[in-house]
Symmetry: C2
Subunit: 294 residues, 2 copies
Amino acid sequence: MINITLKQLRYFEALARHRHFGRAAEACAISQPALSMQIKEMEDVLGAALFERSARQIRLTQFGEVAAERARDILRAADELGDLARASRERLVGRLRVGVIPTIAPYLLPKVMTDLSARYPELEIHVRETVTPKLIQELSDGQLDTAIVALPVSEGTLAETPLFHENFVLVRSAKEANAPLPNADSLREMRLLLLEEGHCFRDQALSFCNMPSGPPREVLDASSLSTLVQMVSAGMGVTLIPEMAVPVETRSASVSISRFEAPEPARTVGMVWRKTSPLANQLTEIADVVRQCA
Amino acid sequence: MINITLKQLRYFEALARHRHFGRAAEACAISQPALSMQIKEMEDVLGAALFERSARQIRLTQFGEVAAERARDILRAADELGDLARASRERLVGRLRVGVIPTIAPYLLPKVMTDLSARYPELEIHVRETVTPKLIQELSDGQLDTAIVALPVSEGTLAETPLFHENFVLVRSAKEANAPLPNADSLREMRLLLLEEGHCFRDQALSFCNMPSGPPREVLDASSLSTLVQMVSAGMGVTLIPEMAVPVETRSASVSISRFEAPEPARTVGMVWRKTSPLANQLTEIADVVRQCA
DNA sequence: TGTTTATCATAAGAAATAACTATCAATCCG
DNA sequence: CGGATTGATAGTTATTTCTTATGATAAACA
């Protein structure tokens, strides 16, 4: 199946406008025979005459009139595709799907969302909050554009950039405020409350205590830092939370916060995306904005 | 300025649908590298990535999604142009601008319009009624598609086909009904009422009497056959009218109609159109329909 | 862990398409 | 009738697009 081409439509449109092969050809920056051939080809393909050629002038046929209108529509649509491409290339627009782990989302997102919206008004931000393995899976599947997680991710297909480094602090009930600071080993002897399995923060905390991360423990596992703090406040044990969570989580709980001595437990939070992502350039820009927020 | 092509849009659409270069290429009946190259070319021209290629699968970029939608619109519009061409080629549709001389129009058109509309329901018929020279001019200018006039027209650029032959009859007042039939020469002595200048029928009548057609005559010239007959009915003279006009024009006038003896005055009515007209085929068909009516 | 498989990109030559120059044919005009 | 204008045609060249063969990379497999 042979078909018409946009080039033919362009030539046709010019001829319909000029009603003169020579001038239309000049307008298209080609020779008159080239125009003649393409018009003829187009008429052959369509199986209908577009122009009526009489001795000294040419006229659009009735079909030609209709076709000229359609041709203009098509050419305009094609041009718009170019405009659209330019727009999408010049600035970050459209939808950005961001995944964030639950031990970061509530503390970082409010400011990040505000700043990003201010900087990229045309950007529609979707947030997905879940544990790292799921985020990585969804990222790889193309359901997310980027994710904010604890580094390293060590996934060959993903690019990662660090955002900030944060320490973990000890949360004890208010009445233990002046008790001696436990070290990593003594923590193991205490009733350490942790997040349920799957959260990387659980593993990071356990690793600080040199405890195996795998098997479930006898203690109740919480589903959020907020719950953990409330449990501590109720005297059920102690826990660790990232520094960033302190202002939010201790507002409505009577607990004491203590920093560890060096080497303090800590984690690096970073942003990851597919190495192949077409948004790679914009994502490094966004990482900068997030860094400002932290 | 290099630009995208419809071919690229077709390939792109296929790839967007299959999300697989090999299968999309197969669907387009080309080799996989050919598809790769055209997609690459298209991305280069647009200056934006359409697909994100990762190891084992490809995905549309956000821009690609939008572009795919547009591409489908454009391709559909291009296909419709083909459909439109086919429709316009297969049957007579749209507008047909017909010119008819005033000494034919009122008698022939009612039936012709009815029959044509029945046969070509999608045909919109415009009628222009004026004298032959104006019709020929407008036909040549492309303001008319065809004209029904008295033959011959003898215009090199026009094609003509005869429709019917009609005699002229003598119209006298009712009380002259039994008077002897004048011949061409005796007509010259009578008060012969005629149409105003410009009407071919005037010239044809004069030519029958062997009188010069040019100079204005002393008698009142009428603007329609109807007026002529009414004048005859009022006793102002005699006239000739084409046979076809008899039923209509003598309905409300007390006149007598007489046929001449051979050689009877007559004219050939025919249809003309530009030799270059794209409607030429359809016009011969229409001439057949008109012939049926006469 | 190395091997196979799947998949898209690249390269080089061949085929197809579109362009140009030169020329023709028709017609209008003085 | 002769020159000028205009679109069509022919032959050749230039460009584009395709094909085949091959490469590179990562996933799947054993």
